[in-house]
């Protein structure tokens, strides 16, 4: 019997199913170590045993922000680093306390750079209160007291008290209105290469990720969303699988998905795989990648482009130039492919909706839970669990949380853990936007650039996720790294006659923020085309860049640093060739020099990458180094292998078999230069990804004379 789609959320419960509430006995909820009255302030709790708990609002997903933010707080607090541990406040607590912890959003490499000021103030304020408590006890002036490693000292009288002993009194004091933060030049803990705080549990399997959560009475759910974007469920035959082992419930989730709940996930997935589902594939049933490419190609010539950046008269100067260059580049759709697939555990009752999930934005998850449950945010709560990778997938859109809430809502009182299969994760991502770019340049008789026009055609993330933020057709994120100035991503090159515009063309594939975002393809477009210009003008690619960056000293400094360390200008080892790229993004300046060889048979070997990062202030050089190394893995994975294609309205790739990613054998040696010039705060999790592909593509050109303008590389032969 087929269940009509109109009777949504049709389900059955087996007699054995735990359908009532009251089963949750002994469940340990993540809770703050101290109440508001016992903490020194929202950021710092000092316990009697001298343990210092630093509250972290941003999510740890491997990028090291947990350690970096704790360092900043501990630096100002002057506590003993070995006593520091961290905890997450919940989004519900943040809401109840008028967002005392600020934003929970962990994306755009913002973890440190947008919260350094208030977390340091949290540490500094707590220190002053501990000092005040000691001074009150001793009846001396606070100016006579000093602090070191968690102890307040009064040198004149030789007295000292530990933070643990002072915490109770300090917590009762009124916080000082103003605090002075340390000059980063005086840092002793921040700014130093430090090991991560969260390693141990990752060595012995004890770290609990979202997928690992267990609790009494927990059921598991597997889900299948309509493979065609925009399609719906027409019908499904629940009766066909209801007798399968462990199955508790078969239900429709929203308009487009069907889920099976069982006592284990494997049984839920087995039944879901056997479940006959008929889809209404809707208007996108025939959409495919060829049509998307044609649509984008038309955008390259379209008259409806929105200007992102313009100065001088680029088109006029190019038209009047003796020599013109033109090239079209293309960047594909890509899946984030986090190692841990999307998952959430939800317990719903008519009064309360609780969610346990790995998320890059706990407050976003809370909003999704509220919307899906129909309960106000104050009756919802999200407990953030460790993320098995984020890369932007788990931040702006919480589609899996909505699904999990709808499932749990059908079984009030029973906690249900929804886990996406890898196949579901691959086919229902929020994909790296697909774009093409036509670049046109004019050259004068001396080979100097007279004008440059970049026409970007393609998908807008903002139009797909926050359409209300599109003003006059402009998606500013499209122009990442190409801004005329500013602290986020200024174009370093002096190009007086420049036009950069965007013809928005949105295919029926949901876009998302994908680690590095639009900086990734913008760096490829600009840095590879600049290499083309250098080749056409018979200029050295480094010399050309140096000339154009003469007025941008920070851009130039990272470029010069990689050129020097890589040995640019000196012969490379036999058979090896070099390529350069630089860009500014997420507030930081980055550059890379790649050294590659290509065999006659066309086999590419990336031997070595030299990379430099100027993030202004470097909070933890060791973790910056890890982010730079990882950025080459992520960026080169995208360049070499990453592509999702659309056929009949659905993503063709299903797993790592047909969506290959970079592995150990492909990974180049990475030599990282961390060069903090001070005075600003840039991100480090993303910017370097953008220089990975263009540095390698430019090196491939140097090695082979082949100019690869369409990614991924695996589609091309490099054979001589």
């Amino acid at each position: 019997m087929n269940a009509p789609a109109s009777t949504a959320r049709r389900f059955f419960l087996q007699a054995s199913a735990a359908s009532a509430g009251g089963l949750i006995i002994g469940m340990h909820l993540p809770a703050l170590a101290a109440s508001e009255a016992d903490e020194i302030n929202a950021w710092v709790v000092v316990q009697a045993d001298e343990t210092v708990i630093v509250r972290i609002a941003r999510s740890e997903m491997g990028q090291g922000t947990l350690t970096g933010l704790a360092q900043l707080v501990a630096e100002e607090l002057e506590c003993d680093w070995v006593r520091v541990r961290t905890e997450y406040p919940t989004p519900g607590q943040n809401l109840a306390r008028k967002r005392v912890w600020g934003s929970f959003s962990t994306g755009g490499s913002r973890g440190v750079r947008e919260s350094h000021d208030y977390v340091r103030k949290g540490g500094a304020t707590a220190r002053l209160m501990l000092v005040q408590a000691a001074a009150d006890e001793w009846k001396v002036a606070t100016t006579e007291c000093t602090t070191l490693k968690g102890v307040v000292q009064h040198k004149a009288s030789g007295r000292s008290l530990s933070y643990g002993k002072l915490a109770g009194a300090a917590a009762k004091l009124t916080p000082p209105a103003e605090v002075k933060l340390k000059d980063p030049r005086d840092w002793t803990l921040a700014g130093k290469p430090m090991k991560r705080l969260d390693t141990r549990g990752k060595l012995d399997g004890s770290q609990i990720y979202g997928m690992d959560l267990q609790m009494p009475g927990l059921l598991s759910a597997a889900i299948k969303d309509c493979p065609v974007f925009g399609g719906k469920v027409k019908s499904f035959d629940a009766a066909a699988v209801k007798a399968m082992p462990g199955v508790k419930l078969v239900l429709q989730v929203g308009e487009s998905a069907v889920a099976v709940v069982a006592d284990t996930w494997w049984r839920a997935k087995t039944a879901l795989d056997a479940l006959p589902i008929v889809w209404d594939e809707g208007v996108n049933a025939a959409a495919n990648s060829t049509d998307i490419a044609a649509m984008l190609k038309a955008g390259l010539d379209a008259g409806d482009a929105v200007v992102g950046s313009t100065q001088g008269d680029a088109l006029g100067r190019i038209a009047a130039s003796a020599r013109k260059l033109e090239a079209v580049y293309a960047y594909p759709l890509q899946n984030h492919a986090t190692m841990e697939t999307m998952n959430a555990t939800v317990r719903y009752t008519p009064e309360r909706c609780e969610v346990w999930t790995p998320t890059q934005n706990g407050e976003g998850a809370l909003a999704a839970a509220s919307e899906a449950s129909g309960l106000p945010p104050a009756q919802c709560e999200v407990y953030k669990l460790h993320l098995g990778g984020g890369f932007g997938r788990r931040g702006a859109v919480h589609d899996w949380v909505r699904q999990a809430v709808l499932i749990a809502k059908a079984m009030p009182g029973t906690p249900v853990k929804l886990i996406w299969s890898r196949e579901e994760d691959m086919q229902h991502g929020r994909y790296h936007p697909v774009t093409q770019c036509r670049l046109r340049a004019g050259l004068d008789a001396k080979g100097k650039i007279t004008g440059l026009h970049m026409r970007i055609s393609g998908q807008s993330i903002i139009a797909g996720i926050f359409p209300q933020n599109i003003k006059n057709g402009l998606d500013p994120v499209v122009f990442q790294g190409l801004s005329a100035g500013g602290a986020e991503g200024a174009l370093g090159y002096a190009l007086p006659d420049l036009l950069i515009d965007h013809a928005m063309r949105n295919p029926p594939v949901p876009p998302g923020f994908w680690r590095g975002v639009n900086l990734n393809q913008n760096a490829i477009y600009l840095e590879c085309f600049l290499d083309e210009i250098a080749a056409a003008a018979k200029r050295d690619p480094l010399e050309l860049r140096r000339e154009l960056l003469a007025g941008s000293p920070k851009h130039l400094a990272v470029l010069n640093a990689v050129a020097a360390k890589a040995g640019w200008g000196k012969p490379a080892p036999k058979g090896r060739h070099r390529g350069l790229a630089q860009i500014m993004g997420f507030g930081s300046y980055v550059a890379a020099c790649a050294e590659v060889s290509v065999s006659k048979a066309g086999d590419l070997k990336i031997h070595r990458i030299v990379a430099a990062t100027d993030p202004g202030h470097a909070v933890n050089p060791q973790q910056i180094q890890a982010q730079v190394e990882g950025s080459f893995a992520y960026g080169l994975s995208a360049a070499l292998f990453g592509e999702c294609t659309l056929k009949n309205g659905r993503i063709e790739q299903s797993n790592f078999g047909d969506y290959p990613v970079l592995k150990m054998e492909h990974m180049p040696a990475v030599e990282t230069i961390v060069m903090p010039s001070g005075g600003f705060w840039g991100g480090v999790g993303e910017p370097t990804i953008a220089v990975a592909a263009p540095a390698v593509l430019n090196a491939i050109f140097a090695a082979t004379g082949k100019r690869i303008r369409e990614l991924p590389l695996r589609l091309h032969s490099l054979k001589a």
Partner: protein
């Protein structure tokens, strides 16, 4: 009721014979250190040892594992993260998100057992696990460290300030 020998203990589990060992470990035995990443033996996050052989447990049906075969998961590698490979991982701060690291460590332990002094080519061939954070170079260095082939206990960092390289 199937019998398994896991981390030195005999365990019984109630699962269909075709259930992958991964899900028996995770859902029947509560050993969640072994991870699901792909379900098709591509990513290696589910790697365990069966009689010392690194095995992708996501495609190994319960029915094909006998009660006498000795299964070791990440939880059973050492009681206190003191295995030489775990110590090397700790020394070089290898994990980022960490989700793949159980499988990485189990694969590395098996490699070092088979080849106590592995070359880079040996590491490339044996370590086919996927890491999306990009810890590969640290994994490689940690394997060399565990093998006694790396003297330094940290990855060198070049920090360059206006005063020159530090």
């Amino acid at each position: 009721m199937a019998q398994l020998n896991v981390n030195g203990k005999s365990r019984s589990c109630d699962a269909e014979p075709e259930t992958p060992l991964l899900w028996v470990l995770r859902e029947q035995l509560g050993l969640t250190g072994t991870k699901y990443g792909c379900g098709i033996a591509q990513c290696g996050a589910c790697t365990v040892h069966i009689d010392g052989v690194p095995t992708r447990s996501c495609v190994r049906p319960l029915s094909t594992v006998s009660a006498t075969e000795k299964i070791v998961t990440i939880e059973g590698l050492s009681p206190d993260a003191s295995h030489v490979v775990q110590k090397a991982w700790d020394a070089l701060d290898v994990p980022q998100c960490g989700f793949c690291q159980s499988g990485m460590i189990m694969a590395a332990v098996a490699l070092l057992k088979a080849k106590p002094k592995p070359s880079d080519a040996d590491i490339d061939a044996a370590m086919t696990n996927i890491c999306r954070c990009g810890t590969y170079n640290r994994v490689r260095a940690a394997i060399h460290l565990a093998a006694g082939q790396l003297q330094r206990k940290a990855i060198p960092i070049t920090i360059q300030t206006e005063g020159g390289a530090a």
